[in-house]
Symmetry: C2
């Protein structure tokens, strides 16, 4: 993944979203950069690197696109702060995830934990959390804080569930989807709610939720389907750390031998690769993709039903976001 | 440390603070217990255990005592939420600290990391952070969110600095005090600010800051002076993980051999014990205690200057808090 500007999908989105979007996104980048200030050289070398390494800025973009063109300067600033806050929360969870996974690279850059150690990375993640809430607290309305703190609870609970479910091959589809909802969809939903509170008067939280679910399911498919040059990591990373995802759940129903496999027996990259191939052979990857497409379809329907209220510009830009989630993985 | 009710100092405080304090503290406990709800059995076994293990509830007590007797039900509820939020932030940092230290026991109970592993504990800490902000967001005033998010930034920065300074014996007194300020004093200060915003109209943040500084310095003295049955840990724990604190900084000025010691050479509990004894022999512990007492004295002066505005009840209760910080370590 590269910076927002260099992604062709993003360029298309920027155009569709309206003339105000590029400058709003630039303002968000500025806020993100400032979030690392006042913390001296240490954070500049750590948390700021995480923020500035980029990513698609999909969540801030959702805030801005759902809101539509703000009619007042004050609204524009408020939306930019909300967009930056969502991205800070996302960055904080990435930093903490990397600590737990001992990950060395993220977006092609050394992770905070690889450069500064676990203590540094845990504190850097905590700092990003705090800065997100500080940004929202500049507002006189406490609702955004409520929205984001609830999403954060969801993120943390999702992680808790994932660790509780680790290595358990009998995890159900429902439980898996609950995890996706908490771990990923809640923050997408929050982004849409934060956007809706502004100039936008359409509640698009269901749209955000479905996009988030699709995003997570497709991410989990990619972990099995590889290849490494696309994903930046070896296939089967989830299997190796005991995370049971949809492809494995569906494949177990189709392959008796997989159903008997104890995930703890998968200890090498070669074994993980072999299990990934076996999962793919069952057709479970296509079935999982279908499910993700189902979420995207539902999101598009929600969008279509609100087309009139949204107006063409907002509708088309959000439809592109939905397409983009699918295309990223196709 | 035991639950709030069983501590004689706390009992005295409860009486001095006014008839409303015990029921307010009970309401805070209820809020803390509820913060773990809705997260199923997992959190009940982890984050809730941390919360319910008690501690002195010193920070919530500061919120309530600074505020004084609330004149309206709504104010009382708001203060209770603020008091619970401060304690949740404190608990979150304890859980994360225990992850980083690999600590097995805290307040005589197994730590979250010991029971659930690092992933679980990191997520549990994040959850407690999020719940703290959710509590404050029930309010229509965004100022408390600002106060607490700024304090959280301070906590995280303090941790970052501590890691950056690790193993460096040339850390200056100023740098050490800055760490104490960020890591500890800011949350005490925030507690007082949260209390001041209510029925209380006296700004007692300087009082909170000084009490916090004294608290941290005395804690660092105790890490050197032991004994283990008082502190629940071996003396020299800080030295063993490279944290350079005031006693060592002062002792280096008094003992040329200590000044030449590379902290990395201290690798066993026996070595740490020996260095602790050497530090004690220089008189550095008394000098460090003196400095802490200086902070308490300044806090008492700030309090005295506002005695009239505060009224006898609030003044006397807060004076007891200041005394309690000293007595805890004497």
């Amino acid at each position: 993944m590269t910076g927002a500007g260099s992604n062709p999908d993003t360029a298309q989105l920027l155009q569709a979203g309206g003339a105000h979007i590029p400058s709003a996104l630039a303002a968000v980048e500025q806020l993100l950069a400032e979030a690392g200030l006042g913390s001296g050289a240490i954070l500049e070398g750590h948390a700021r690197a995480t923020i500035s390494a980029g990513g698609k800025r999909l969540r801030p973009l959702l805030v801005l696109l759902v809101a539509g063109r703000p009619d007042r300067e004050a609204t524009a600033r408020r939306l930019e702060r909300a967009a930056a806050a969502v991205e800070l929360i996302h960055s904080a969870t990435l930093v903490h995830d990397d600590v737990l996974d001992g990950a060395v690279l993220r977006r092609g850059q050394p992770t905070v934990v690889a450069r500064g150690g676990r203590e540094m990375a845990t504190a850097a993640g905590d700092l990003l959390f705090a800065r997100a809430f500080a940004l929202l607290a500049e507002d006189s309305d406490p609702a955004p804080v409520r929205t984001l703190s609830e999403a954060c609870s969801g993120l943390a609970l999702g992680e808790l569930l994932q660790r509780a479910d680790a290595w358990d091959p009998t995890v159900t589809l429902e439980r898996y989807l609950l995890r996706c909802e908490l771990k990923t969809a809640r923050l997408f939903e929050a982004a849409c709610r934060l956007g809706s509170g502004g100039a936008g008067d359409v509640d698009l939280t269901g749209f955000g939720r479905d996009i988030g679910l699709a995003f997570q399911v497709l991410d989990d498919v990619l972990d099995v389907s590889g290849p490494a040059e696309r994903t930046g990591k070896q296939p089967g990373t989830d299997l190796l750390d005991g995370t049971i995802t949809l492809p494995f759940i569906l494949a177990r129903e189709r392959d008796a031998q997989l159903a008997q496999l104890d995930p703890r027996e998968i200890t090498t990259a070669a074994q993980a690769q072999e299990v990934c191939e076996r999962i793919a052979a069952t057709g479970a990857l296509d079935a999982a993709r279908e499910r993700a497409l189902g979420f995207v379809h539902r999101a598009q329907q929600l969008l279509g039903a609100r087309a009139e209220q949204l107006g063409a510009e907002r509708h088309d830009a959000l439809a592109l976001v939905a397409d983009g989630v699918v295309r990223r993985y196709s």
